[in-house]
């Protein structure tokens, strides 16, 4: 039986029945704890730390790319190494950092806490999914240690570049195996979190009282269940092509390279939403908490999430307009339609802040940064969804700029908001606000300096993935600007890394509910005890902790 200190001002604690039996037995520490824990919180921390290491590693690769492109005719790295840099940058950022940090790290840690569950539905299965994720990360990075280097055909690995003739050596195989393993890990996590949400909610926590974060996680998991198996199948076919003389993607023997593109993007476009939806949830929670208001348009928000998820299954070929083998009107129409639910989300986010009592702490700043940057990326996305424009801009730096505005300015900024918002819950100590704000300011400037010049570069015709360029193309200044921005951006990120190290040891003690939070994770101590809750506040709205702490301002329940 763990002893929990009574926090002040909680009338709902006593006289509630015990929710579950706490398992007696030794509690391991240190490395053994890391190896054996099946606690969703420990696994969530493992995921977040591993993913963040992946982020720093892939960020380093990105600095290599920008250093090579800083001046024309540069010889910082060879062509082959440059190709490896951008391939592994994309692969690690998407498969190791952005996805797993959001749906596996934050999902594992906060979904059970937010719905009042003692743990995940399948705790040991959960641990297994972390271990194969870690194995996948190690294997795909191990490509750098082999003779021919890591995979070098771009993160979407178009056939026939991936064939045994064009990409010999184990680097490409390690890439295949690594992605397949992280894919399995994603599927396991998805099964686990959906089961948890469907069966382990606390009494009174009906579906339409779950925080938006949990709804977004659920839709993300539904997308993972559809997308990752297709990717794994595509990888298996590729492996058969490379090792067993298969002909699936080999045009000279009756195969179809376009089959790879269809399969990959059938995974790839839902994947973009898998990388975005958890972070939409983060931003919703941070904005609502720091505006001291309930989420504006709660049901509209859920409907928007569900429609984004549904529509994203029918837009995969908008990455393939220029192949000439896809149905342009169908994919253009569905792609443009996604702007509608995303727009609803934007209005609801602004509506949540509207007339609220806004606290501009670091998490809030990152969330507002997310709103501006993601809006920009979303609008360039709507531009690219139109075939007439896409034929001009396909495969240029405009697409790179668009993608980074969505994935870095959008999701990663929200990821940093999550770090600043929930670090007190995870460790019991606050991150330093001053360093946090400095980090945000530098990242915001550096980010725009890095990725905004990519749009005019693309309009001036610079193709993506070229390792150098001639001085007379008119690209020199913009590339210089972009590379300098990349160094500034890295500095901003490093400040947060230092802030985490510093605050982990001597940060300000946070208490259980430092931000006057609304959702259930703020009802348990910081860090939460084993199996989370001794007792729960009554759940009568979508923000039970707020209702318990502010009986004079109960949430109006108008949306049943």
């Amino acid at each position: 039986m763990t002893v929990i200190q009574e926090p002040p001002g909680r009338e709902y604690r006593p006289a509630e029945p015990q929710l579950f039996e706490i398992v007696p037995g030794p509690r391991p520490h240190g490395l053994v704890k890391y190896l054996t824990s099946t606690d969703h919180k420990q696994i969530g921390i493992n995921y977040m730390v591993t993913a963040f290491i992946g982020f720093l590693f892939a960020g380093l690769l990105a600095e290599g790319i920008r250093t090579q492109l800083i001046v024309p005719n540069n010889n910082f790295v060879t062509e082959n190494v440059f190709n490896q840099l951008f391939t592994m940058h994309g692969t690690i950022m998407l498969f190791v950092f952005l996805g797993p940090f959001g749906f596996a790290g934050l999902g594992n840690y906060f979904v059970p806490l937010m719905i009042g569950a003692p743990d995940m539905a399948f705790p040991r299965f959960n641990a297994l999914s972390y271990w194969i994720y870690l194995g996948g990360f190690i294997l795909m990075s191990a490509g750098f240690l082999t003779n021919n280097g890591a995979a070098n055909f771009g993160w979407f690995g178009y056939a026939p570049l991936t064939s045994a003739i064009h990409s010999p050596g184990p680097g490409a195989d390690l890439w295949i195996v690594g992605i397949a393993l992280t894919g399995f890990s994603g599927i396991f996590t998805a099964v686990n979190i959906i089961s948890t949400i469907f069966t382990l909610r606390a009494p009174g926590m009906v579906m339409f009282r779950m925080p938006i974060f949990v709804w977004n996680q659920m839709v993300t998991m539904f997308l993972i269940l559809l997308a990752f198996p297709v990717l794994t199948a595509a990888m298996a076919l590729l492996w058969i092509d490379r090792h067993l003389n298969g002909r699936f993607y080999d045009q000279t023997h009756g195969g179809q390279p376009i089959l790879w593109q269809n399969l990959f993007w059938f995974f790839g476009h839902p994947e973009v939403y898998i990388l975005a939806l958890p972070y939409f949830g983060v931003v919703t929670e941070v904005l609502a908490t720091n505006s001291k208001k309930p989420v504006f348009g709660y049901k509209g928000m859920i409907g928007a999430t569900l429609s984004i998820g549904a529509l994203s299954m029918g837009v995969w070929a908008h990455h393939m307009y220029t192949t000439g083998a896809v149905l342009l009107p169908f994919f253009a129409a569905l792609s443009l339609l996604i702007a509608v639910p995303t727009g609803i989300k934007f209005f609801n986010w602004i509506g949540t802040m509207w007339r609220g009592t806004i606290t501009l702490n670091t998490a809030m700043l990152y969330s507002i940064g997310f709103l501006t940057m993601f809006l920009f990326g979303g609008i360039t996305g709507v531009m690219l969804a139109q075939p007439v424009l896409d034929f001009q801009l396909h495969n240029t730096y405009f697409v790179v700029g668009h993608f980074h505005y969505v994935m870095f300015g959008g999701s990663t900024f929200a990821g940093f908001a999550a770090i600043y918002h929930w670090f007190p819950k995870i460790t019991g100590r606050k991150l330093h606000e001053g360093w946090g704000k400095l980090s945000f300011a530098i990242m915001y400037i550096g980010f725009n300096l890095t990725f905004f010049p990519m749009h005019p570069l693309g309009l001036r015709g610079m193709p993506r993935r070229i390792e150098t360029y001639n001085a007379h193309m008119g690209w020199n200044f913009l590339n210089l600007l972009s590379s300098v921005g990349a160094y500034v951006l890295a500095m901003g990120v490093l400040i947060t890394v230092w802030n985490i190290f510093r605050s982990y040891r001597k940060g300000e003690i946070a208490g259980d509910n430092p931000w006057d939070g609304q959702t259930l994770e703020w009802a348990c101590s910081s860090p939460p005890p084993d199996h989370n809750f001794e007792s729960l506040p009554p759940i009568r709205s979508e923000r039970p902790v707020w209702d318990a702490n502010h009986p004079d301002q109960l949430t109006e329940v108008g949306h049943r």
């Binding site: 929710l19 040991r124 271990w131 009174g204 269940l225 376009i258 089959l259």
Partner: protein, 137 residues
């Protein structure tokens, strides 16, 4: 349970409708080579229809009586009792993961890794099952 199965049914119906619409449009525009997307959409529809079927069967099996987490007025007392068994720690998931990862290396450097990984995996599964058997119900 109602919201759950309705959500899954909605996703399934949407995917089925999209598959039909896409198939009709592809057929009308004469892109006979595009079979991958239609297949994937039909299977997605089937996957969610299956999940819907499972959930709705559970719902009927409970005689449509809402669980405490489905009731707007439920209190903590309604959820009292054993929720489930949640193990504190276990080494076997890490063993299974190690076996799977070593086995996966077999796809890169040859079948010997697969054998080693397979042995570790099976050993870990045996340990896992023994651990589960020893637990109280």
């Amino acid at each position: 349970m109602k919201v759950e199965w309705r959500t899954v049914l909605g996703a399934s119906v949407f995917l089925g409708a999209t598959a039909l619409l896409y198939w009709a449009l592809v057929y009308a525009h004469g892109h006979p080579t595009e079979a991958a997307g239609i297949t994937a959409l039909v299977f997605s529809f089937a996957a969610y229809f299956m999940l819907f079927g499972y959930l709705v069967l559970q719902y009927i099996k409970r005689r449509r009586i809402p669980r405490p987490e489905d009731r707007f007025d439920a209190t903590q007392a309604d959820g009292a009792g054993e929720v489930g068994w949640f193990p504190a720690a276990s080494i076997w998931p890490a063993g299974m993961g190690l076996g799977m990862v070593i086995g996966a290396v077999g796809a890169v450097w040859g079948v010997w890794y697969l054998i080693v990984g397979g042995i570790i995996f099976v050993g870990a599964v045996i340990g896992f099952v023994a651990e589960v058997e020893a637990e109280p119900e």
